[in-house]
């Protein structure tokens, strides 16, 4: 269910021998007609049965399942001091991770021992960041790293940033410790892979809010719990991508090694691992990004760092300060992303370029290491190199500018935005939501299963049936349908944006280069930051939640579609041009149809990303499942219901993932 994962998988799909596509268009038409027929039947039945067996549940009402989950949670809390599982298992894990986090914090962010400052000051960290970036990648990203880290200091957020970096590094380290070996295993064994996939899906779609409170019971408040929460969310991408990398090493290469008499161990160490190194580094990259996405959420259980600044600023609706801290997260994410991306591509680039400097590289590395060591020593010893100088004036300028922009937008745009909101809400969202929530549950279930079978085949149908059954069992069916309606509307809007910008970016490298940094920023900027202006523009409504989800999900869809459009062979486009097609015809008749698998993938990822924003939506008026989860996090009596709502979000995610993936396989075959 991750971005980076799905892409290679579909391209792997395309490598399979493509069967001749004679009847494909005919079949597609009949398929959409069947879907249409299902919808018509549904509408007719809805008209007759409206309002019956809708399984609705008021905000404060509970089912037996919810109460049982509450009791389980309570008994864990009551027995934690006498339970041997806690004394000898969870406490030990906590101790190890806590020590790791404290160690890194002492190194770069927190006063350690009797020193009023950390062991390594800002100069040392900046020097190390530059040196490491240069050593693993190239001098261009090293400059970026130095500039980026210095900027964090200028923002007046040095210590907060280092706390965030310390937590992120610890979490990524722990995540990779588990993810890489398990990923290799899942890559070698088909069975391990089959067992791992649903667990990973679960780890990635289960809203963090659901397990945040119990985590503090198991691992106490603070660094350890925050790290573990981050690991749960951030480990899956590395695991999936490693498995995929191992699996996509050409079979012929492995056979060649076997025929030369290599043992299993040798072929793993000498063939599989080296050949998949590049992709594995991309997995590390995804894990780092996922870990940074958890910064603000971890702040809710007292994780130190930038997230705390964001959360606290928003208590007094201080958008400027929140934006400044959010920007620091974005800067850190962009630095880490570019460095790891460059690192994964370095080996090849260096080999190909045959740079004369290459000979000198080893000596230069030693020399650079010495410079970095001197800087570290200075920052350990002297105050000017330990504490970032200045009072963060850049930060307050940024905060003020952000405040001004927000105020301007609120004053001048709110009439416009309210109109837009009402059109979408009344024209699209409300009718759709009524259809889903006021139909009898079995009717909606049957329609969903029918659509799944038509689009994805019988196996997708069975998965959907199981998911529908479990959704009913969670007791939050009605809230689930409300959330589903918003999710689908948001996904439709995401796809519209994705097609417009994706095609534009796919057709022009210049546009791509200009737009891409904005997309990156939209993906890592904590949603909490832009929620306040959105609230001012759209009020506490479901639409605000939809807009927030679009900001987060559209970049993924846009990037995937842009890549898809770009991979359409240039010769095909030229051929179409020479037959006299105009631009519009080329886009609609050639590029989009040929990028169909990218479109399906974009829909899949768009939906999953929108679903991951359901909880954030609950904070700004979306109600339904998102609110249930937030309420469960805040109130003991609602804990069980929140957990059930979290499960419902996972089920919706799994259902749509399986349907769209099955549909994608059909369209590519």
């Amino acid at each position: 269910m991750t971005v980076a994962m799905e892409k290679p998988e579909t391209s792997g799909e395309a490598q399979q021998p493509v069967p001749p596509p004679p009847a494909a268009p005919v079949r597609r038409i009949s398929r959409s007609m069947v879907v249409g027929a299902i919808l018509v039947v549904w509408l007719l039945a809805f008209a007759l049965l409206r309002g019956r067996q809708t399984l609705s549940l008021a905000a404060a009402d509970l089912t037996d399942l919810h109460r049982w989950l509450n009791d389980v949670n309570d008994s864990i809390g009551a027995n934690r001091n006498s339970n041997p599982l806690f004394l000898y298992f969870f406490n030990e894990i906590r101790l190890v991770i806590d020590n790791l986090v404290t160690f890194v914090q002492d190194l770069i962010s927190q006063p350690s021992g009797d020193r009023p400052v950390p062991q390594i000051g800002w100069l040392g960290v900046v020097g190390l960041a530059g040196y490491v970036s240069w050593a693993v990648a190239n001098w261009r990203v090293a400059l970026l790293a130095v500039a980026g880290f210095t900027f964090l200091g200028l923002q007046g957020l040095w210590q907060e940033s280092m706390d965030t970096l310390a937590l992120t590094l610890s979490a990524v380290l722990v995540a990779l410790l588990f993810a890489l070996p398990l990923g290799v295993w899942a890559g070698l064994s088909e069975r391990a892979n089959r067992i791992a996939t649903p667990i990973l899906d679960f780890m990635q779609t289960m809203p963090t809010f659901v397990y945040l409170a119990p985590l503090t019971l198991f691992f106490l408040i603070g660094g350890a719990s925050a790290t573990i929460a981050t690991v749960i969310y951030a480990a899956p991408p590395a695991l999936r991508i490693t498995a995929h990398a191992i699996r996509s090493v050409p079979a012929t290469t492995v056979e060649a090694a076997d025929s030369l008499g290599a043992t299993r161990r040798q072929s793993l160490l000498k063939v599989l691992l080296p050949m998949s190194k590049r992709t594995v580094v991309m997995g590390v990259n995804q894990t780092i990004m996922a870990a940074l996405a958890m910064v603000t959420i971890a702040a809710l259980i007292d994780a130190p760092g930038l997230g705390k600044t964001v959360v606290q600023a928003l208590q007094s609706l201080d958008v400027g300060t929140a934006f400044n801290a959010g920007l620091a997260i974005v800067v850190m994410a962009i630095v880490l992303d570019r460095v790891t991306t460059a690192a994964s591509g370095r080996a090849e680039a260096a080999r190909r370029s045959g740079n004369p400097l290459l000979k000198w590289r080893r000596h230069l590395l030693v020399a650079g290491g010495a410079v970095a060591a001197v800087l570290v020593y200075l920052s350990h010893t002297y105050l000017w190199a330990a504490e970032f100088p200045g009072d963060g004036g850049t930060g307050s300028t940024i905060a003020k500018a952000a405040d001004n922009v927000t105020t301007w937008a609120q004053d001048n745009l709110s009439g416009l935005t309210n109109g837009f909101r009402d059109v979408i809400t009344n024209g699209l969202l409300n009718p759709f939501q009524t259809l889903l929530t006021d139909s009898p549950w079995w009717l909606v279930g049957a329609a969903l299963i029918g659509i799944a079978v038509v689009l994805g085949g019988w196996r997708a149908g069975i998965t959907t049936a199981v998911c529908v059954g479990l959704l009913v069992a969670t007791g939050v069916w009605s809230d689930g349908m409300t959330t589903l309606a918003s999710t689908v509307v948001a996904t439709v809007l995401v796809m519209l944006l994705g097609m417009v910008f994706g095609v534009w970016m796919g057709r022009s490298a210049l546009v791509d280069r200009l737009v891409r940094p904005t997309l990156d920023a939209a993906q890592v900027m904590p949603p909490f930051v832009y929620l306040v202006p959105f609230l001012a523009l759209f009020g506490a409504t479901r639409f605000t939640a939809i807009v927030a989800a679009i900001v987060y999900a559209a970049p993924v869809a846009i990037k995937i579609i842009a890549d898809g459009v770009r991979t359409v062979p240039a010769t095909t486009v030229e051929a179409a041009t020479s037959t006299g097609c105009n631009t519009w015809q080329i886009i609609t008749k050639v590029q989009l149809p040929m990028a169909r698998s990218a479109l399906t993938l974009a829909t899949n990822q768009g939906l999953i990303y929108v679903l991951s924003m359901v909880v954030v939506g609950g904070l700004v008026g979306a109600g339904a499942l998102g609110y249930d989860v937030v309420a469960g996090f805040s109130q003991g009596q609602l804990y069980g219901k929140g957990l059930a709502a979290g499960l419902a979000i996972v089920l919706l995610g799994v259902m749509f993932d399986r349907i769209t993936q099955a549909a994608a396989r059909r369209t590519t075959n």
Partner: protein, 321 residues
């Protein structure tokens, strides 16, 4: 090759020496760099900070006094209520400074698990209720009586309220009976969950500025009231026991006597910080002043506490006698 290497090393050494020579103050040299001088007597004081500015004001002042007068090492932990209470048992939290009722939590952690004990009132009176923006109360004074709410229900309609008037609720962790109230008072309203205090405040701010119709859940003491003085709507008066059955509530919220909760272990520890917490007591106006320093004047909690403590030395001295 070797020559280059030697040249590089020499250059580095020179660079290193130059930098060292122009060094400056060393870490640990100056006394001002220290700052965190903590005495053994008080030790560490773990203070939970729940996520609203009023609480932050309490915590800022108590932490400031504990640090400067009692020389404690104060660790503030930003936590939601439920998790903060959970922390009493795990030993990670010593004090919750502003508790709003929460009989459920009291039952679980004080009566059943016996990990927490009460430490008296903060002196603040907590008021919960339905509020409208000031322009609305001025334009339609009769809206302050709940009996007239239905008359205006259509005005409060939004895209979220399904044809009824909208009653906006905020953060789910706050005490609320609103859904039952709407039902039992037979009002033509629907409770819409904004989901966070941020969303709620923003809604009121817009409503006052653009003269929009908004009615919702709010509470005092709250810093936002000094920016927009919201007006409370009178619900049927509270009488003891009228909220006994949550499903049948048809009366206003009681006035909450906000109180302090400490962990049982902390209460037995004999720490001077415990005595401070126990004696800590101030008025709604005091809290609003500090909260305003933090939220409106954008001072850090520590600076806000310093300003208030210096102006109110007499009150503070009574807490640490």
């Amino acid at each position: 090759m070797a020559r280059h290497w030697r040249a590089g090393a020499a250059g580095l050494a020179v660079l290193g020496l130059t930098l060292t020579a122009c060094g400056g103050a060393k870490v640990g040299d100056s006394s001002e760099a220290g700052g965190s001088g903590s005495s053994g007597k008080c030790g560490t004081f773990n203070l939970a900070v729940n996520p609203w500015v009023g609480y932050e004001a309490d915590a800022a002042v108590v932490a400031y006094v504990a640090e400067h007068d009692l020389k404690c090492k104060v660790t503030k932990k930003d936590l939601k209520e439920e998790i903060a209470w959970q922390g009493f048992g795990t030993g990670e939290v010593d004090t919750v400074l502003e508790n709003w009722g929460h009989d459920d939590l009291k039952k679980k952690y004080i009566t059943q698990q016996k990990t927490a004990v009460e430490a008296g009132s903060t002196g603040n009176k907590g008021i919960i209720g339905w509020y409208v923006p000031p322009w609305l109360a001025k334009a339609h004074p009769d809206i302050k009586d709940w009996k007239n709410l239905d008359k205006y229900a259509a005005k409060f309609k939004t895209s979220e309220s399904g044809g009824k008037g909208q009653l906006l609720d905020g953060d789910p962790s706050y005490v609320t009976n609103d859904e039952a109230l709407v039902k039992n008072l037979k009002l033509d309203f629907k409770v819409v969950y904004a989901g966070s205090e941020t969303a709620l405040i923003q809604a009121y701010r817009n409503a006052e500025k653009n003269k929009q119709w908004v009615i919702g859940y709010f509470y005092e003491p709250q810093w936002f009231l000094s920016e927009v003085p919201l007006v409370k709507v009178d619900l049927p008066a509270y009488k003891t026991g009228c909220d006994a059955d949550p499903a049948k509530v048809a009366c206003d919220y009681p006035v909450y006597d906000l109180d302090k909760i400490v962990s049982a272990k902390f209460a037995r520890s004999g720490s001077p910080a415990y005595d401070l917490v126990k004696k800590f007591n101030w008025t709604n106006d005091d809290q609003n002043t500090v909260a305003k320093y933090i939220a409106v004047d954008k001072m850090t909690p520590d600076a806000a506490a310093k300003k208030w403590v210096e102006a109110n030395r007499g009150k503070v001295d009574a807490w640490i006698k």
